[in-house]
Every structure is written in structure tokens, then in C-alpha cells.
Amino acid sequence: MSRHPLARLRNQANPRVPSEVQPAVGLPRTLSVILATALLAGCPASSEEVQPQRDQIDFPSGLALSPAQDLLFAVSANSNLRYSSGLVSVFDADLIDSLIDGWLDSGDPGPCQPDGTSPAVLACDESDAVLSDASVRIGNFATAIAVQTLDSGDLRLFVPVRGDPSVTWIDVDPSSGELSCGGSGSLPECDEAHRLTDLRGDASLGTVVDEPFGVFVDSQNHYALVSHLTRGAVSLIDTPGTGDPPVLTDAAGGLFASNGGSAGATGIAGRVPGSAADLIYVTSRSEARVQVLYVKRPDGGGLPFLVPADFFFLNMVQPSTDARGIAFSSDGGRAFIVNRQPPMLHVVDTSAGPTGVPRNVLVGAIELCDQPSNIALADTGSGPVAYVACFDAGQVWAIDPGTRAVKALIAVGRGPHALAVSPDRNRLYVGNFLDSTISVVDITPGAITENHVVLRLGRPVAGGKGE
């Protein structure tokens, strides 16, 4: 294993377009066709007229909830380059719930209407629940979003943006949902200061590795980690709880062997976030390896850096060479890893063994749908449930990891990828990438609507809102 200085991983291409016409691998081939079409059709417009619409979702690629589960942050990737930029929007979860409750309790559709093909689903416009003054513009091809809680209780968002490439950070006022990232105007664009591109703010030390993809934030330990889809690398961001600006401090490359010329890091998650010396697990789309890292802060102060700890292979189900999302049980004793080849949810025992090291052995596997891409875990009172986004099938599978049984196949829309789950509200939010919608699933145990979509935000549009 070697560590690659960022300078050696610098993207030499147009910073506003991915270095390779490389489809979002986590957002599968359909996107590649869209991208290719868009690029062949010429350069995207960049004038004010083609600004994204503040209250619409366009190729949602990331969802995250505030810790209080009252704000839902959504990333629009602008993957067909219809608009001049991507977008981060904020939805009011209370407002969404009130729409749902009115619909379920009294049949009142409010400003929405029953879906034409699934009348049990309430179809709403994004504007019915979005905080329209809160949206900000970011770069194109954003992939995910994660939330940090600052010491003050304020929030900070981190968004990997493949088009720049960069990691954009955005401050959030949790009381109003207002976003700020330095821009101005009615729909501000995040400024350069809020785009992490240079190592330690010094371009001579290197720039961010290509294709930032997954993101994991540990609020207590004050760092964020970003995986890189084509370089098998992980970047580390120091995220002070004081609210001081974050700093891109380190990158570890060469973590994964290549497969067909590209070594990719995909899923990334901490085993027990907030614990001292937490271990970070990183999956790969190019081999069966799962890399374990940790973040070390120099005792005398200074910027943190990454330390590769160990690795293991998902080789008990073969070939398992295309892993994606990863999530941990609350005690860190189980890791749930989504793999595409074969489509399988690996249940890995990550509890500490008699030697003190996580066992990291497969204890179960559940066959999945084609092209699974992402996972979210929740326990709403009936035990943990794993929700897996099935991009090709347009479904989310709900899985009981204890019995290894599929509890439900939830039809959500086309190209589901982004997931956010609110155990408090008994809601699963699903970003349908190809529909440019967000489906809200009721996950209330025992409810008649359990594991059914009860509300959809946005009008399903093939090929993005601009089509």
C-alpha cells in the first residue's frame, strides 16, 4: 500500500467537467448515456436563464437529514447539464409529514393530488415542501451529501462534486434551514472559499483527487472523509467543531487494486462514529477488498492525517468485486455492504474479537436486486431494517438482517439511489435519480402503509427537468 500525494492525483482536465467522460458508476449506465448525449450536444448554457430552479429537484443524487430529522437536504446533480449548476435544496420534514398525515388520516390531498397511476400515493410539487429561499447552487455531478453538527448546534453540509472536482461545504442555520456558502443573489452559488480543492489550502501541495464520490462525516471527531471513484483513494477533511473553515488535509491512495485500469473507492463509513480512534471502512468497485483506515491527530496539535490500518476481502461470496454502499449497526458490531457482482448484501461481523481486532468475517448474505447501489439502516422499533436502493429495478428492498429475509419490495420510482431515513418520523426518503423525484416511504411498523410510498415530491420526468 502506498500513499499518494495529492499532487500525483491531480486532475488535469477541465475542472468543470469530469476528467474522463466517466459515467457515475454509482449511478449506473443510464447516466452514461445521458452524459454522453449531453456532451455531444454541446456545451451547457451558463447564463442566468439556465440557472436551476430553486424549488425543483433535478437528478437527485444525495439526501441527508438534519440530526433533529426536521430538515431534508437534497442534492441535484444536473447530470444532463441542462442547467448551469447543481443545487442543494432543503425540504421541511414537518411539512412533508403534515401533507402525509392529512392524506392518510382524512384523505385530504392538500395542495397535492393523488398520483395518476398509483392513487394511494400523494403526488406533490417540490414547492409544496421545499424551503425555497434556502437553496444554493453548487457544481455539476454532485454525488452525495453528509451533515456535520458544529459545537454551536449549527450544521454544516459536505457535498462531493465530481464536476469540479471539489468538496463543497455549506453552513446551515438549523432553525431556518437557510444555507450559506458565500454566494450572493436570489439563488447563490457557493464561492471558491467553500469549495475544497487544494490540499491544506496550498495548491502546491496538491489538489483534490479526481472523482470525489462518497462522503462520511464524524461530528464528534471533527473530520470528514471522501472516497474517490476512479483512483482508489480517500481524502480527509479536518472539520473543526468551532465553525472554522474546513481544511482538506490528507489523502491516501493506492488503497485498491485496479480492475480494467481503474481502481475505485466507493462506500465509506465509520464503525462507531464519535468513538475515539474510530475505524473507517471503505469499499471498492474494482476489487473485493474492504480497506480499514483511521484518522490520527498529532498529539501536539496540527492537522489530522489518515493511517491505513488493515484490510480484508469479501471473498466468501464470489466474486464480490463491485462493492458500493456500506452501513454499520449502531454498536458497530455489524457492517452491511452492498455488492453488485453478484448482487448481494454482505453482513460482516465487525465486532471486536478475542484479540481486540474486529473480526471482519462474513456472517450472512442476502441476495439483492440488480444494480443495488446504496444502503440505509433504521430501527423503528421492530429491530434493524436495511433499506437497499435498487437502481435498475426502481425499487427499495427492505431486509431484516437478522432473519436475512426480504421484508418488502418497495416500488419507488426510476433510478433510486439516494436514501435518508428518519426513525423518529418513520419515514424513508428516496431520491429517484432518473425520475428527478423524491419518494417518501412509510416505515411505521405494523401500519397498513408500512413499506409503501405515501408521497412523492416532484413530477417524474425522464431525462431530468430540462427535458
Partner: protein, 1063 residues
């Protein structure tokens, strides 16, 4: 359109444009979709005998019938009344069909097992269609009559009943009805089922009845969320009894008034609000009338039922009936107990008993052997060890637990064969009770008493088969010469079906007296079956046979290699170094005479008794490379394997506690087996790789004063490299190797490691002067000359260091050692630093000199490391949870060692099972080819080499894989000529750091498996009525494959099992 589809379209267009290609293969059609379970149907001609007496006037129809009808015919037995009668209508032999459950599609595919093809349930729709049956069906069984298949639906918490004839008959429309499960008092049960079995079907002598109007018999359905198994009348869905599992894990038979939380939807309101056309389709996905929403929702009683809580009570997930239908076995995914339910003649539970397996595990699958006559070696099914009933349960520790349900205990399948040889009690060899003091020790490294599959893969499911003929049965085909006995077939997460011997009736039942005549893994029950042959073959020559792992027994692939660095020992003096014991082998030479050749005791040519002692456990031997390295690493892993961790790791340095510590938050130290006085080497960076080994903003710095012996640099911040270079000079130019003082899971405390003379007497030095003399001895080892020629030579310039005999705190407590003394570092060898009057392998680093990422390696101190590339570095170190310190596992095996020192306690006994103390010192006969010299006129005159056998001191070393002897761990040196062994020096070692012996092993147990097309995830395995096994592969191993069914014949074990794949 996916890229793959796009490519396919393009390829098609190109193909079309280029004209017809007659030899193009049609695309592989995939008809199945993630199959998980199978039920069977027997369908064909049936004479309706009514009263059981066949009459030529009886009606003959085409009908579903009991599975026993097909099973009997598979054994060439025609059920009574179904024979062709004179003047009667002929009865077309029924065929066996597989009903394949596809849960995510909610359907049942029908497979004609004879044709090996999927049938089309809807000829009017393109493709081969399956029968929609329900929402998320989890299990499918055939009822007692054979006329109905019943599915338990997890999506709707109900049952679907499929008319078998309507599914199999190509001209019929599949007929399906649904039934709610209700308690005796009529309450609907909305718990989600997980598994189901049905009461046994009608016997062959009951074949001849018209199909009943509804399904018959009893269903046993496991409800994990309800912590219960319900016994349900198949015809009505009414629970007649139940087995309820309590919080304390116990089981009770109850009347069946289950109070299960609703898991299939019960909050009313939405339907009314949503109006017509509600979103049932969201879940149904094409299933028939699944009613995900209306499944009893309105009738379910009060709204907002309590959600099911995981209250710790067992969650039953699998169950099976014994073949005779008298007992039901239940396992739970969160409990180590097997629940055994006695059933009355009608299948209703009467009593419950439980047997706990060892450890805090859950059980996820179970299968029953039925009553077996164990023992016997006649080549016919027979028994000499009594009757046993076994349950095989898949456990969460990736083992298959074997439970003797007749006698009520778990069997230890991991008994170390070296301790089982003396067991003559045949009953014990069928099942060593776990916890019985008389049960021999378990294999070192075994996870539990259960059967472990190769490479740590996870077992998924088990089924049993009996192969062979009964005693007295005719054997026209000579099959009794082949595989005979009872066998388990275990599907595994790596897509393989492994074979386990439950009872081999063609192999001796106990150890035979002649060495290598029997292998205990083949004698003992419940062992992975060996695919190899001629394991007991004895050598006919002194050379090694080909490195074929499945032919002949455990052995070396080739000679033992000794890798000698001439900077430490001249090649001519290699015999002074320790080696592995050799024995004399005699073979016929080309001239017809006898030639004596030294061979390793681990080789194929070693005498049978020696080989048997060297490899006491066939199952422990792998095809792998072993390295025995003095002060070697604790791992041989590369970047592409993870047996026991990386050789070079990354950490940081810390001095906050006053000590210098290597910190690794990955907590690897106990896992790697570190002990005090081991060596930590700060590897630094390789300047030839530029700065790639360093962190951001760091450079790989090499101090200009660095001696040639030191080839690595250290990573320093670019902006401070020059200033730190000066500050850290002593560190930078040293070897940077330290002694481990304290061992914790996440850190090691370091101390300077002194430079010790390698020829220090093993019993300790006596004076500085002795050390000075021995320093000359050490130096002369590097020279090829005879002692008589070297004695008077003065030390070379620059090698006349000062040596002192003193205690050495940097090594394990022991006698005084010869140490390089100094006043300052100029008095030390290059690469060493003077600390406290002694030369050390490096000063303790100032943390400023190693502030960032630190690459380090841990090596064994004062011993050989014995590592197999697959077996790894075996040890007994664990973490003390209270302190975080690494300690020895008090329950660890004496065989779990990978350290081989040069001195050890005396051996006690030399039997195959004498493993303590280990290692131990002894004397053995050793044969070697030696240089011969004659001392004449003050000179050593060379003679012909000779093969000499002599008794030599040795250290006996045993690990789980082998036992060998390290000979000549120390020497008294030569007197006049090389090899005369007449030196009078105190016994001293000549080994040096990095001295290596290596060899390759092969010929260990090669697990038998069913050779098939690649499977991805064979979730279940089920014996079919015709004797074939049905393996349901749920996985998608490659694009376009959505699972498959594998059929194979256990009876064809000697002929590749005749596998057939259906997709």
C-alpha cells in the same frame, strides 16, 4: 438501456449487416429468477384403487399423487396397485417435477426433472413463465396427498395453495387459493413466516386415491417475530397447536392461541382515503391477488397494533422433520438451542426438549439424518456402533453443528486426530460429546465443535443422502466397491457443495495398527470427505512424487531449502547452522546397487511411522509454503491476501506517557501475536520510491552520514527536513530496531535493543574475555577457511569492537550475554548507537523525528518464526478486556505456536500425542551428507563426502500442521577442520537475523465437492423424491444469470455426481 444491452444491440446490428452466420450460438435463456426453495410434485398415471386393491376395471387417470409414488419408482418399486394389469389400462409412470419458488417475483416455476427443463405456465406469453403465487413467498411445501403445494407468504402473512395438477398440466390454468392463518379461536395471525415444512406424505402403499378437494396434512410454520412455530391444518389454515419460545429460550407446546404482533399491515384508514385503485401494486409486483394492504387489515382488530419487538426471545428461522415424521427440529437465528419436538401419530406436538450447542451462536438452517446404523466397513450399509440420530445445524460462527438427538448432546467434530487414535470405543468415534471429559482435545484453532468449511467460507444449508447397498443386497454393477455410507452435502457461500462423511461403510471404523494405513479424518464421523486417493501410499523411492495435492499423503513437494547469507556464514560452514532432521532412505541405483540418500522427516520418502507422526492430521495440511526465519516477521501476507495482517503496517509514535510507544489504532498487536522482547523495526521509507511512502508535505529523507548498511530513510516534513536531519541524526543513521517491553492491543512500549553477539553461549557468557573470543568465532564464521587456518588471524580492522558480558534488559530474562560495549557511537558498528554504555540498534526516537505516519514491522525476538503462507502465524495471544494488554489465552492449545527458540525444556515422551511441553528438547538420529577432512601435517585434506547418521541434539516443534525436529540448534564449533564437530567452545548458536529454512507442503485433505457450473449463492439443498439433490442457487454470478437449479445424484459419488444445471 444499459451499456450491456446497448452492446448487444450493436452486436446484433453488426451481425445482421454482415449476413447470416449459421454457427452463431443462440443466447443462453434464463428462465428462473433468484430461486430459493423447491417443493416436488409427482404427476402422471394413477390407477384409482380406492380400497387399495387393484382391479382391471379401475379407472386410470393422469393426476398428481403422493411423492412416495415417484420415490418408489426411482427405486424400481411400483406402488401396490399401480402395476400394469392384464386386461387393465396401462399406468403411465408418473414423473417428478420441481416447483421452484421465486420469492422476489412471487412465483413458482415448474421444472420437469426428467427433461431438465423449465415448463411454461403461460404459452400465450413470450418466454417461459412461472405461476404467480403470492407476495414474498418464503417457503413451499407439498401436502400429504401430493396434490397441492402450499406457499407461506411473508409479504401478506398468509398461505397460497397451488393445485399441483393445474401447474404441471400444460393445458390447464394454474389454480391458486389463499388462506389466512387463524388461531383456534379464529383470530387472524398477521405474523411474517420465515420457514415451513409439511407433515410426511402418504406412503407408497396408499397411492391410488383421487385428489382431495383441499390440501391435507399439517404445516409447521416458523414465525420469528412471534417467537413461535405454528402447527396448521393445511386444509383450513387453522392452528391446531404451537411451540412457543420464551424469553429464557425454553420451548413449550401450547394450544396455538398465538398473540403475534401484526407484521403485514393493520392500521386502517388508508384504503378508505385512497379510494379505488390503491397502490397494492407497489408491493405486489405482479403477484396474484397478494393483497398486501387488504390482507386482513380491516379484520385485524384494533388499529395501531404494537409493533413486533425483538425482546430477546428466540426467533425461529428454520425447521425440519425427521424422515419418519416423529420429531420436529427447530432452530432460531438468535439462540444456540436446538428444539426437539416429539410428534404423535397425527403429527401434533406432544413434548418439547432442547439441546444447546456450545458458544453464543445462532442457528439458521437444520437438517435431520433420521436413524442411522453407524459404523461398519464392509462396503455395504451396515452398523457396528449402534443407532444414532443426528441433526446438522448451520451456526452463525460459520460452522455446521452436529447434534446427537438420540442421546442429547452436541458432537465435537473437531477432535484433534492425534489424540483420537487411541479411542477404540466405536460409539465415541461416531460422536465425541462436547463437554465430556473423555472427549479428546479439539484441533488447535478450531472455532467451535462444528464442521468448518475450507477457507473460512460460510455454510448455508445441509441435506443428507445414503449411498450404497444393504448387506445381502445383490450387487450386479459392483457398486459396493465404491462409496458406501451416509453423507451430508453442505452448500456454501462460495458457491460450492461440499461433502461430509457421516458414516463411511467402506472404510475402517478405527485406527489400524500399521502406520498410514488409516487416516483419522476418514475414521471419525462428521468430517469433510477427502477427494484424494492413495493417501496411505508408501514411498517406493527416495524422491518426491509430483506435487499433486489429491494423490498420496501429506509430504514435502521438494527438498527443504536453506537460505544462507554469506555475509554471516560462509557456505562451507552452513552445516553449523540449525537444520531440519533428515533420515536415511535407501533406493536402488541404476547399477542395481543400493544408494543411501538423506531425506527430510517431512518428506514422502520418510518411514511410514515418521510420516504419520510428522503429519498427524490430514485435514490440517494445505498446499502452502512454510518459512522458518530467525527473528522473522509475524506475517507473510502480501497486498493480495489477508491471512494474518500486513508485514509492514502504519502507525504513529507517542511519548505522552513518558515511554516511547508505537500506536496503531487498528489494535493489531494481540492479533499478530506480539510478545514482550519481540522486535519493532521502524521501516521508514524507501528513497528509491521518492516520497511515495510518505505523507502529504513530507519527504523521504536520508541523512548523508547514513552507513551503507542502512538503506531506508525516514519521512520528515519538507520544510523542516534539513533542521530535523541534524536533530535526528543519530536516529536516522541507525537501524531503528527496538525491543518490545509492554504489549497492548493498540500500542507497544519500546526500549533500545542492544547489540548482542550472536555466538553468545546458550547458557550465558562468563566473562568479557570469553565474549572477545566468541566475537572472533562469529567473525570466522564468515570465512571459508578451516579453524586451524583461522585461529591465529587477528581481527580485521574495524571489527575489533569491545564486548562485555553483562545482563541484557532488552531481551527475555536469562543468563548474561555478550554485548557490544561503547563510550560513544564511534565505538559501535555502523548502524548502531551508543546508549548507556552499550551499542544499540538505534536510539529511542524523539517524536519530533517521527511525527507523522510511521511504517513499522514487528518481528519475533530470539526465536525462529514458523509461518505458513495460508496457515499464518499461529499463536494463543488474546487481549485482556480489562487492561487492553496482550496475554496468553488460558484455554489456548499447546500447538498454537509459531516461535521456535534454540533452547527448550526436555521433551516428555515421544508419542504422537505428546505435545507438551512444546517446543521441547530431545536427541534424535539425523542423517546428512558431510564433508570429510583429514588433518595431516597441520593441514585439512579433503576426502569424499560421506553420508553419516548420528544422534544430535534437537528441538521438537509441533503445530497444528506438522511436527519436526530442528537439529543442531547450537554448536560447540569445529576443532581443526570444517565439520569435525570437535570444537570445545561452550554450546553457542550461529544463527543470524534473517536465516531462513523453507519448504512446501502438499497432500493434505482435499475436500470433496460436487463439480458444477459456477454457482454464486446456493441457499438451499433439498433431496428430491427420486434420489437426486436439488440445489437452489439464488445468486447472480454474472450478468444475465438470475439464479439456477443444480441437480446431482449422490449415488453417483464415484462418477462426478452427474450434475445437471437448469436455468
Amino acid at each position: 438501456m444499459t451499456g450491456q444491452k446497448l452492446l448487444a444491440v450493436c452486436a446484433a446490428l453488426v451481425g445482421a449487416a454482415s449476413g447470416c452466420a449459421p454457427d452463431v450460438s443462440p443466447p443462453d435463456i434464463r428462465n428462473l429468477d433468484r430461486p430459493t426453495a423447491v417443493a416436488f410434485a409427482c404427476y402422471g398415471g394413477l390407477r384409482i384403487t380406492g380400497d387399495g386393491t387393484a382391479d382391471p376395471d379401475d379407472e386410470v387417470i393422469t393426476s398428481a399423487q403422493p411423492l412416495s409414488s415417484c420415490a418408489a419408482r426411482a427405486d424400481d418399486v411400483i406402488p401396490p396397485g399401480q402395476e400394469d394389469l392384464e386386461d387393465g389400462l396401462p399406468v403411465t409412470a408418473p414423473r417428478t417435477y420441481g416447483l421452484i419458488l421465486e420469492p422476489t417475483r412471487g412465483s413458482v416455476a415448474v421444472v420437469d426433472s426428467q427433461a431438465g427443463a423449465v415448463l411454461d405456465a403461460d404459452p400465450l406469453t413470450p418466454g417461459k413463465n412461472a405461476v404467480p403465487i403470492g407476495t414474498l413467498p418464503v417457503s413451499l411445501v407439498t401436502d400429504a396427498s401430493g396434490c397441492y403445494a402450499v406457499a407461506a407468504n411473508a409479504g401478506t402473512c398468509d398461505l397460497s395453495i397451488l393445485d399441483v395438477a393445474s401447474a404441471v398440466d400444460p393445458f390447464a390454468t394454474p389454480a391458486i387459493t389463499h388462506a389466512q392463518v387463524t388461531t383456534p379461536s379464529g383470530e387472524v395471525v398477521l405474523a411474517r413466516p420465515q420457514a415451513m415444512v409439511a407433515s410426511p406424505g402418504l406412503a407408497a402403499d396408499q397411492v391410488g386415491q383421487v385428489c382431495p378437494d383441499t390440501s391435507t396434512g399439517l404445516l409447521y410454520v416458523a414465525y420469528p417475530g412471534c417467537h413461535a412455530v405454528a402447527v396448521i391444518e393445511a386444509g383450513t389454515g387453522t392452528i391446531v397447536s404451537a411451540i412457543e419460545l420464551s424469553d429464557d429460550g425454553t420451548a413449550q407446546v401450547t394450544a396455538g392461541e398465538l398473540a403475534c404482533a401484526a407484521e403485514c399491515g393493520a392500521r386502517p384508514g388508508l384504503i378508505a382515503a385512497a379510494g379505488p385503485g390503491d397502490d397494492a401494486g407497489a408491493v405486489d409486483a405482479g403477484a396474484v391477488d397478494a393483497g398486501a394492504i387488504d390482507a386482513g387489515a380491516i379484520d385485524a382488530g384494533p388499529g395501531d397494533p404494537l409493533p413486533p419487538q425483538d425482546d430477546g426471545a428466540p426467533r425461529p428461522v428454520a425447521l425440519t422433520l425427521t424422515p419418519d415424521g416423529t420429531q420436529l427440529y427447530i432452530v432460531a437465528e438468535n439462540s444456540p438451542r436446538l428444539t426437539v419436538i416429539d410428534l404423535d401419530a397425527s403429527g401434533v406436538p406432544t413434548t418439547a426438549a432442547q439441546i444447546a450447542v456450545a458458544g453464543e451462536v445462532g442457528l439458521t438452517a437444520v437438517a435431520a439424518t433420521g436413524t442411522l446404523d453407524m459404523g461398519g466397513s464392509l462396503g455395504r450399509l451396515s452398523g457396528t456402533a449402534g443407532q444414532f440420530d443426528f441433526a446438522y445445524a448451520v451456526a452463525s460462527d460459520r460452522t455446521v453443528r452436529v447434534i446427537d438427538t438420540r442421546h442429547g448432546f452436541e458432537c465435537d467434530t473437531q477432535v484433534d486426530p492425534r489424540f483420537a487414535r487411541a479411542v477404540v470405543d466405536l460409539a465415541k468415534l461416531q460422536c465425541f460429546p462436547v463437554g465430556d471429559p473423555a472427549t479428546p482435545p479439539r484441533r488447535a484453532g478450531a472455532r467451535s465443535p462444528g464442521i468448518q468449511l475450507p477457507a473460512g467460507v460460510a455454510p448455508l444449508a445441509v441435506a443428507f443422502a445414503t449411498v450404497g447397498l444393504e448387506v445381502g443386497e445383490e450387487d450386479p454393477d459392483g457398486i459396493a466397491d465404491g462409496t458406501v455410507g451416509h453423507f451430508a452435502f453442505i452448500t456454501a457461500s462460495n458457491g460450492v457443495v461440499y461433502v461430509v462423511t457421516v458414516d463411511d461403510d467402506a472404510y475402517p471404523d478405527q485406527e489400524q495398527s500399521a502406520p498410514l494405513s488409516t487416516f483419522m479424518p476418514k475414521v471419525m464421523a462428521h468430517q469433510l470427505r477427502d477427494f484424494g486417493n492413495s493417501r496411505g501410499e508408501l514411498a517406493q523411492a527416495c524422491s518426491s512424487p509430483a506435487a499433486d495435492p489429491i494423490t498420496f499423503g501429506p509430504r514435502l513437494v521438494s527438498d527443504v531449502a536453506q537460505i544462507i547469507r554469506t555475509t554471516f556464514v560462509a557456505p562451507e560452514k552452513g552445516p553449523l547452522l540449525p537444520g531440519l532432521r533428515q533420515l536415511s532412505c535407501t533406493e536402488e541405483d541404476t547399477g542395481g546397487g543400493q544408494t543411501e540418500i538423506p531425506v527430510s522427516e517431512l518428506s514422502f520418502a520418510a518411514p511410514a511411522g515418521v510420516r504419520e507422526a510428522a503429519y498427524p492430521d490430514l485435514a490440517a495440511v494445505s498446499a502452502e509454503t512454510w518459512r522458518i526465519i530467525w527473528e522473522g516477521p509475524l506475517s507473510l501476507d502480501t497486498t493480495s491476501n489477508d491471512v494474518d495482517g500486513q508485514q509492514i503496517r502504519a502507525g504513529t509514535l507517542d511519548e505522552s506517557g513518558g515511554d516511547i510507544e508505537v500506536i496503531d489504532n487498528g489494535a493489531p498487536f494481540c492479533a499478530m501475536g506480539v510478545e514482550p522482547y519481540d522486535i519493532v523495526s521502524l521501516v521508514g521509507c524507501n528513497p528509491q520510491r521518492g516520497d511515495l511512502d510518505c505523507g502529504i508535505g513530507e519527504t523521504c529523507y536520508t541523512h548523508p552520514d547514513t552507513p551503507a548498511e542502512i538503506t531506508s530513510g525516514m519521512c520528515l516534513p519538507v520544510e523542516y527536513a534539513d533542521s530535523l536531519g541534524a536533530t535526528c541524526r543519530d536516529l536516522l543513521i541507525s537501524r531503528r530496531q527496538y525491543t518490545v517491553v509492554d504489549t497492548y492491543a493498540d500500542h507497544l512500549t519500546l526500549a533500545p535493543r542492544r547489540r548482542v553477539l550472536r555466538t553468545t553461549p546458550i547458557a550465558g557468557c562468563t566473562s568479557d574475555a570469553q565474549c572477545e573470543d566468541l566475537a572472533v568465532v562469529a567473525h570466522n564464521l564468515t570465512l571459508s577457511g578451516h579453524p586451524v587456518d583461522l585461529d591465529d588471524q587477528p581481527p580485521e580492522e574495524g571489527t575489533d569492537y569491545q564486548w562485555a558480558c553483562a545482563p541484557d534488559p532488552s531481551r527475555a530474562p536469562g543468563p548474561d550475554r555478550c554485548q557490544m560495549a561503547c563510550v560513544d557511537s564511534t565505538g559501535c558498528e555502523p548502524g548502531y548507537a551508543c546508549v548507556g554504555g552499550f551499542c544499540t540498534e538505534g536510539p529511542l526516537p524523539d517524536p519530533d523525528c517521527a511525527a507523522g505516519l510511521l511504517r513499522y514491522q514487528v518481528r519475533v525476538g530470539d526465536a525462529f518464526s514458523v509461518i505458513g503462507e495460508k496457515t499464518g502465524f499461529v499463536h494463543n495471544r488474546v487481549v485482556d478486556p480489562a487492561t487492553g494488554q496482550c496475554i496468553d489465552d488460558p484455554d489456548g492449545s499447546a500447538l498454537n505456536i509459531a516461535r521456535l527458540p534454540l533452547s527448550a525444556p526436555a521433551c516428555v515422551g515421544d508419542g504422537i500425542d505428546d505435545v507438551s511441553p512444546n517446543p521441547c528438547s530431545t536427541t534424535v538420529s539425523h542423517t546428512a551428507t558431510e564433508q570429510q577432512f583429514v588433518f595431516e601435517d597441520g593441514r585439512c585434506v579433503g576426502q569424499s563426502d560421506a553420508i553419516v547418521t548420528r544422534d544430535v541434539p534437537a528441538i521438537r516443534f509441533s503445530n497444528p500442521v506438522f511436527t519436526f525436529h530442528l537439529i543442531n540448534p547450537v554448536t560447540t564449533g569445529d576443532a581443526e577442520c570444517r565439520g569435525d564437530g570437535a570444537g570445545t567452545l561452550p554450546p553457542h548458536p550461529v544463527v543470524y537475523t534473517g536465516y531462513q529454512i523453507s519448504f512446501d507442503t502438499t497432500g493434505g485433505l482435499f475436500p470433496m465437492f460436487v463439480a458444477t457450473d459456477a454457482m454464486a449463492y446456493p441457499l438451499t439443498i433439498t433431496p428430491g423424491p427420486s434420489g437426486r439433490m436439488w440445489v437452489l442457487d439464488q445468486g447472480d454470478r454474472s450478468f444475465g444469470v438470475r439464479g439456477q437449479v443444480l441437480l446431482f445424484s449422490p449415488a453417483a459419488a464415484d462418477d462426478g455426481f452427474h450434475p445437471v444445471t437448469i436455468r
